[in-house]
Subunit: 309 residues, 2 copies
């Protein structure tokens, strides 16, 4: 029945973890008799995720634009309402599986909530499957593997935990693939930015943070060639200024991350741009700061910026 459906989805601007963890949850639910569980997405599939779907020959989940009051939902890879679907406040959230901090989240009744401070949501799923002794199918292994490779940049990001490493090693065997080769191809597929307008680029993987009414965005683009992206700096800044105006932001930070060498060039614009200077102890030059060794928004960008805004 339509009204019995349960939608499972990740955050807006979905990344590979958001899509793969949703699809995995649907697969696992169906194996356990949960026919009504359906993976959805809150935005366009990025090129990295498309690589995974092509590899598996699977369709992407359908777009979910909003939910009706009382709609049963499962959130993966996020919990903050402002990163979730329109209407989430009045939805019936029955479960959350996530690896982010808990913030801007509340429920009126007790629910299932499983958070672990790992590098990826899929690592949590794998740990649960392992503890319960469930058999992991090859397609499930590839979904989880892809999500973990994406979130940890092939285990090189500082967000990587021991649990992620164990999961990648064991899932690689189940999937029976060369993890390094598959992972590099997948990550590189995600860095082809030519087809995107500047407006699309600054929204590709953008997280909005609302801190007591002060709103700022930290967006991230992965690349294998920072100078190549910076050729578009002027137009990127125009797009950022447009976002600031449209969303009434006090700060917009765009991190252009070199996934091969693990550095980020950041562009910071807005009335609170000086917070970024304080956060990293460096002066903005031409609206930019270069951050060596910085690749993780969650671990290396958000905390110092959040502290100084």
């Amino acid at each position: 029945m339509e009204n019995e459906k349960v939608y499972v989805f990740g955050h807006k601007n979905p990344d590979t973890d958001s899509i793969c963890s949703s699809m995995l949850h649907e697969l696992l639910s169906k194996k356990n008799g949960g026919e009504c569980v359906e993976a959805r997405r809150l935005g366009n599939i990025n090129k990295e995720t498309q690589y995974v779907l092509n590899y598996l020959g699977m369709e992407s989940p359908k777009l979910l634009e909003k939910v009706e009051p009382g709609q049963k939902v499962v959130l993966v890879d996020h919990n903050e309402f402002n990163q979730s679907v329109e209407g989430i406040k009045d939805a019936d959230i029955i479960e959350v599986v996530d690896h982010h901090r808990i913030c801007n989240f509340e429920t009126s009744v007790p629910i299932h909530y499983t958070a672990r401070p790992y590098g990826c949501t899929s690592t949590i799923f794998y740990e649960i499957l392992k503890i319960t002794g469930a058999k992991v199918e090859k397609v499930e292994a590839i979904l989880m593997l892809s999500a973990i490779i994406s979130d940890t940049l092939l285990l090189k990001s500082p967000t990587t935990t021991e649990q992620d490493k164990i999961a990648v090693e064991e899932l690689g065997k189940i999937a029976d693939i060369d993890v390094n080769e598959y992972g590099l191809n997948m990550l590189k597929a995600g860095t082809n930015l030519d087809d995107f307008s500047e407006q699309e680029l600054v929204n590709l993987d953008a997280k909005l943070v609302d801190k007591d009414g002060k709103k700022f965005v930290i967006a991230q683009i992965n690349t294998v060639n920072i100078p190549d992206v910076l050729k578009r700096q002027q137009k990127l800044e125009e797009a950022i200024n447009q976002e600031i105006q449209n969303k009434d932001l006090q700060l917009f930070v765009l991190a252009i991350t070199d996934i091969l060498n693990s550095n980020s060039q950041i562009i910071a614009i807005g009335e609170k741009a000086n917070c970024v200077e304080q956060a990293f102890g460096k002066k903005l030059e031409n609206n930019m700061i270069f951050l060596e060794g910085v690749v993780s928004r969650k671990k290396q960008l958000l905390p110092p910026i959040d502290k100084n805004v």
Copy 2:
């Protein structure tokens, strides 16, 4: 080292689940090499919990009055900051295990969070032990059993879930005790209210809810004889009015719950007392409404009152 200590504790006005789950967490951590984990309590031990401690011949956890910034803590049986220890906002919360709704809670970094919509925190612990195949010791079984009996009123409260029933059955065998006999003795031990002043009674198990600045309290007293408690109505109301004044409350609800017959007499006082009338579709008479079949604050009192405040 002192600064390496991790404190694990339940909510203010600790009940049997808050104390037993904290003690259990300490025992389990020590078995797994976590020598630094120490159970604490945020208030006086009630008589029901004292019965459990006497039965086991165990000392109660030490009182914890506040925590310093950065102190590592584990929260069990609660998550809302206003039900937690003084200083919680600046503590380093590393884990939460809880069966309540998630509200007034946030962290700046990802943490371990395990919530399940069961009748008791200890049921979650038991489920984890069972899934992981860990051996459950007799003392651990009695701690969990006591907590579940307390929270579910011997599986009679509507908060009782299938998981609680399974846990009680299996833990009863491990503990090798007559669950009904032990449970009734434990519950009855908690209903001897003679030693308490009226001020103590209205604070014995009181939960403060802050709803966008509107503050109200729902307190609960368990008894086997409601008329006996009502002999003290006038003085109870004086104590309630004092609480309203001291804490700037808009409503104070005291539920006097008959744990044998599963009914509650409630006393509602405050400028928003009419919300209680709307919540239950009954008129207050002499500040009281009798609610048949109502024993659970979480499931039967909080949601309708919260909705109407």
